[in-house]
């Protein structure tokens, strides 16, 4: 356990920075503990535990930012790091147009903890390994399966935040996740592969009870059987048709074509050199019909269970829902205090850093597509002719977040309300706004899940962020699917 007294002294030292040195400063100490348990082909592939602890300091000097970070934490190193951040800010000020201003936020003293019923780090490794071995044996009951992976993943982030505005916030956020995959291979040149509950597993905020709720045992048989079927399935042929997406693929679609384009730092060009810009310029705010008129999308870091769930962001802004797309129209962005101030808005509380080492960036929280009604089965039954694609397998979108090509692990032809032929390597493509406007039905709360994305890359140096996307299966009209023969 880090020395809390040292952290408190270091935090207070930064928070009490002299106004003559910095108009604002904040301090964020973070300890991240992770545990990964994975089996490959029934054998333990890795069990590893990692601990990382350190702190970072942001300083706003003459309207420009500086940031410095160091491992460990004590008052002496905090003084050194603060001075370095201030020196860096002076260098930043050599190239500025307008001084940075920050949208106001009430400084609070608060303590936030994820609701955890069963501490995942307290569950014995033996139980975890035996559970994964059990899953592996279930996968191998299906003839033809010759490669398997099963895994569990846990992460705990403890954070201490102090700001010169008076905020003192502690948070403990716990994530749990797991999943499995099965592959059938033939002659080293062909493969059929499926995963469950989704590729890379499902990850949410909470304790070991998340793993129990995933019901991984129930997924083993269909996952394995579909993998074997895919081995001999044809590739989805190219055509324009009605497209049904599984909830986890809708989650990916939200992530790539709503979440990223609405990051306000990206909109202003901050990511121009790496992950690109956005077509959703501020001039579109309140006017752009981004999606069909029944579509509403929120950013909600307060939603229970999402991988983007927390009490306060890394600027001390409280988590609260913000509507991004209302009745199909773009109405807000994901923002920080700095970017929100440029539009005279309040921060949406989306400023987050991967670790103490990293500078916070505008990041997705839980980007949630408001559910409609009905189950996936009812959506299929309501579809005369089309294709259902499930489980993310491929994704790419241009640097303005407009034109995309995404793909799934499996597809079914839908004819007269029934599933038919299975296809492998299915892809579909489109343009963000045109695609979301073509949405004509979203399934209901019974099919709704906040899917977790545990590694979303952004920034230079690159950071991996953990985000959530609330989604139900949905249907889109006149979409190009498949690949030309």
């Amino acid at each position: 356990m880090p020395d809390l007294k040292d952290i408190e002294q270091a935090g207070q030292l930064v928070a009490s920075v002299r106004k003559s040195q910095a108009s604002y400063a904040d301090f964020r100490a973070v300890r991240i503990t992770t545990e990964d348990v994975a089996l490959a082909d029934g054998q333990v592939d890795r069990i590893d535990r990692k601990v990382s602890f350190g702190f970072g300091v942001r300083a706003l000097v003459d309207g420009a930012w500086g940031f410095a970070a160091a491992p460990g934490c004590d008052e002496t190193s905090a003084r050194t790091v603060l001075e370095e951040a201030i020196a860096i800010a002076h260098a930043s000020a050599l190239l500025m147009k307008e001084p940075v201003t920050l949208a106001p936020v009430k400084a609070v003293q608060a303590d936030y903890k994820t609701l955890v019923i069963t501490d995942p780090f307290a569950v014995e490794l033996k139980e975890k390994v035996e559970f994964l071995r059990h899953l592996d044996s279930l996968l191998r009951e299906t003839e033809g399966i010759n490669q398997t992976e099963t895994f569990l993943s846990f992460r705990r982030e403890e954070k201490w935040f102090y700001s010169s505005a008076g905020a003192v916030i502690t948070q403990t956020i716990t994530h749990s996740g797991g999943g499995l995959s099965a592959a059938a291979m033939k002659s080293r040149r062909e493969i059929g592969e499926r995963s469950f509950p989704t590729s890379g597993g499902q990850h949410q905020t909470g304790g070991y009870e998340i793993i129990t709720a995933l019901n991984l045992e129930a997924g083993c048989k269909p996952t394995a059987e579909e993998a074997v079927t895919l081995l001999s399935a044809p590739v989805l042929p190219e055509r324009t048709t009605t497209l049904l997406l599984s909830g986890d693929l809708v989650s990916l679609q939200i992530h790539e074509s709503i979440g990223h384009p609405l990051e306000l730092d990206r909109v202003f060009g901050s990511e121009r050199n790496f992950s690109g810009t956005s077509f959703a310029a501020p001039g579109h705010l309140g006017t752009l019909p981004y999606a069909a008129d029944f579509v509403t999308v929120t950013s909600d870091p307060s939603a229970p269970g999402g991988l983007g769930t927390y009490g306060y962001d890394d600027e001390g802004v409280p988590a609260a829902p913000v509507v991004l797309i209302k009745d199909g129209v773009l109405v807000d962005y994901l923002s920080s205090r700095e970017t929100a101030a440029r539009l005279n808005r309040q921060s949406s509380g989306a400023m987050r850093a991967e670790s103490w080492f990293d500078l916070p960036l505008v990041r997705m929280t839980n980007i949630n597509l408001t559910p409609g009604s009905g189950s996936l089965d009812s959506l299929i039954a309501d579809t005369e002719d089309g294709v259902l694609i499930a489980t993310p397998a491929a994704w790419s979108i241009d640097d303005r977040r407009e034109k995309f090509q995404l793909g799934g692990e499996i597809a079914w032809e839908i004819k007269n309300g029934q599933r038919g032929q299975i296809y492998k390597n299915p892809v579909y493509s489109g343009t963000t706004v045109e695609f979301w406007r073509s949405c004509d039905r979203i399934c209901g709360p019974e099919a709704y899940t906040i899917w977790g994305t545990p590694s979303c890359g952004k920034g230079q140096p690159g950071q991996n962020m953990r985000t959530g996307q609330g989604a139900s299966p949905a249907r889109f009209r006149n979409v190009k699917v498949g690949q030309a023969a």
Binding site: R49, V51, G66, I88, R188, G269, R272, N273, Q460
Partner: protein
């Protein structure tokens, strides 16, 4: 917490820790870094930072069980906790039949990779270089974005079999994106060196700005197969995916790699030779891997024929070979992949490639390349930052971006010309030394409106 940075202190830290290990065999890997990054956009510095960290990865063997933990708490207590964690993990593991055991490796060759000018580069120095780029862009009505990063990397490996390896290097990278509007002109350029003094910031900026000016008002062209000239960065992006899909010993040994069962087969045209070469004098790589095994130069494709993949000790044992010195840190599940890829040059100049083209495209680089069909080494991604139409041997003007879906080896099989000049191109912790390439029949599936 003070972090050791010199060889003697780090090796002593690892020696002392090894002496307290409860394991029958123990491996300790020290990974230290210092990053200073000046990031700019909209002609201003908007992110500016310096951060350092160091961690030790413990791999401990008890009763044939191999367990891993890591920590950045480098106090004796912190390192003992990490070893205790590993010991606790080992208790729940089955004996690892595939574990080859730690061995005493010969000391790797010393490479000259540390340059004080890079390690000591100040934020003011970086800001000055950025200011010059921004100023040049403004004269052409262009906004500049990018990053200027300098830093150090320190790696040491010690194991209970007697291996002791140490490396300290510096690295500097500048990349510049230039644009006057997202829909209009865009350009990009980059450079990477161990010695920051070799980075000509104004020249890099000038290339990006010039390209942005030349790519104003692009026209739309239909999707289809085009002959293309890929600039070196675009070649490097495809090459890195081959690193993951074809040259990785793990997927190869599992039978899922593109080269699985295909060594000795023709996979590209005879004009393609690709090496993993960590010993290029212009940009030396780390001379040993995270198991302390000295790196080898590996011939991956020779005159179009698949010749090899890179291995760590585990994948080498799986495949019946020997390690080539390409292990990743033990807590990484990806498996070995090459980090110093070189594609041998041809004889053509860029001007000759353009002059020889009846109709085709010149591509600066790609964005968001991602797997489409891994078994075919097929990827999907869009062009970016300057795509130009070439007709009758001359650049006619800029075109809008297109989505490409090349199967990489098939594309390399259609390489008609290879550039004689090579540049270093960094991506995802790999450093590639690559030429431009002219390729026929490069597939684009998504047209521009």
């Amino acid at each position: 917490m003070s972090v050791p940075t010199d060889k003697a202190s780090i090796i002593k830290l690892l020696d002392d820790t090894l002496s307290r290990s409860p394991g029958e065999q123990t491996e300790l890997v020290y990974i230290g870094q210092r990053e200073a990054t000046t990031r700019f956009a909209e002609d201003v510095i908007h992110q500016n930072m310096a951060a350092g960290d160091a961690r030790v990865i413990v791999r401990l063997v008890k009763d044939g069980r191999v367990a891993i933990s890591s920590t950045n708490d480098l106090t004796s207590a912190g390192l003992d906790r990490a070893m205790s964690d590993a010991l606790q993990i080992a208790a729940w593991l089955a004996p690892d039949e595939g574990f080859p055991g730690f061995v005493q490796s010969p000391v790797a060759p010393v490479v000259e990779a540390f340059f004080p000018a890079t390690a000591d580069c100040s934020p003011a120095q970086r800001a000055g270089a950025v200011a010059a780029i921004v100023s040049a862009g403004r004269k052409s009505g262009i906004q500049s974005s990018g990053l200027y990063q300098t830093g150090t990397e320190t790696i040491a490996v010690a194991n209970s079999a007697g291996t002791r390896q140490f490396f300290a290097g510096t690295k500097a990278e500048l990349s510049v994106s230039a644009s006057d509007d997202p829909l209009l002109g865009q350009g990009w350029s980059t450079a990477a060196q161990r010695n920051v003094a070799l980075i000509d910031a104004e020249s890099i900026g000038r290339v990006a700005i010039d390209k942005a000016v030349r790519s104003r008002n692009p026209i739309a062209i239909p999707a289809g197969d085009y002959t293309v000239i890929l600039e070196p960065a675009a070649v490097g992006q495809l090459l890195l995916f081959l690193g993951f899909l074809a040259f990785s010993g793990k997927s190869f040994a599992q039978g899922r790699g593109v080269f699985s069962g295909k060594l000795g087969e023709t996979v590209t045209g005879a004009n393609i030779t690709i090496h993993e070469d960590p010993f290029l004098p212009e940009y030396p790589g780390v001379p040993f891997d995270y198991e302390g095994i000295p790196k080898q130069k590996v011939v991956l494709i020779e005159n179009g024929i698949a010749r090899g993949v890179v291995h760590d000790t585990r994948t080498a044992k799986m495949a019946g070979g020997t390690s080539t010195g390409h292990a990743l840190p033990a807590d990484n599940a990806r498996g070995p992949y090459p980090k110093n890829l070189t594609l041998l040059p041809g004889t053509a100049t860029m001007e000759e490639m353009i002059a020889s083209m009846a109709r085709g495209l010149l591509i600066t680089h790609f964005w968001y390349l991602n797997y489409l069909n891994p078994m075919k080494a097929q990827v999907s991604g869009s062009t970016r930052d300057g795509t130009f139409l070439i007709a009758n041997g001359a650049i006619m003007g800029p075109v809008k971006n297109l989505r490409a879906t090349p199967a990489i080896l098939e594309a390399f099989a259609r390489a008609e010309q290879i550039g004689r000049e090579r540049v270093f191109y960094p991506q995802y912790s790999a450093m590639m030394f690559v030429p431009a390439m002219k390729i026929a029949g490069f597939p684009f599936v998504e047209d521009t409106e």
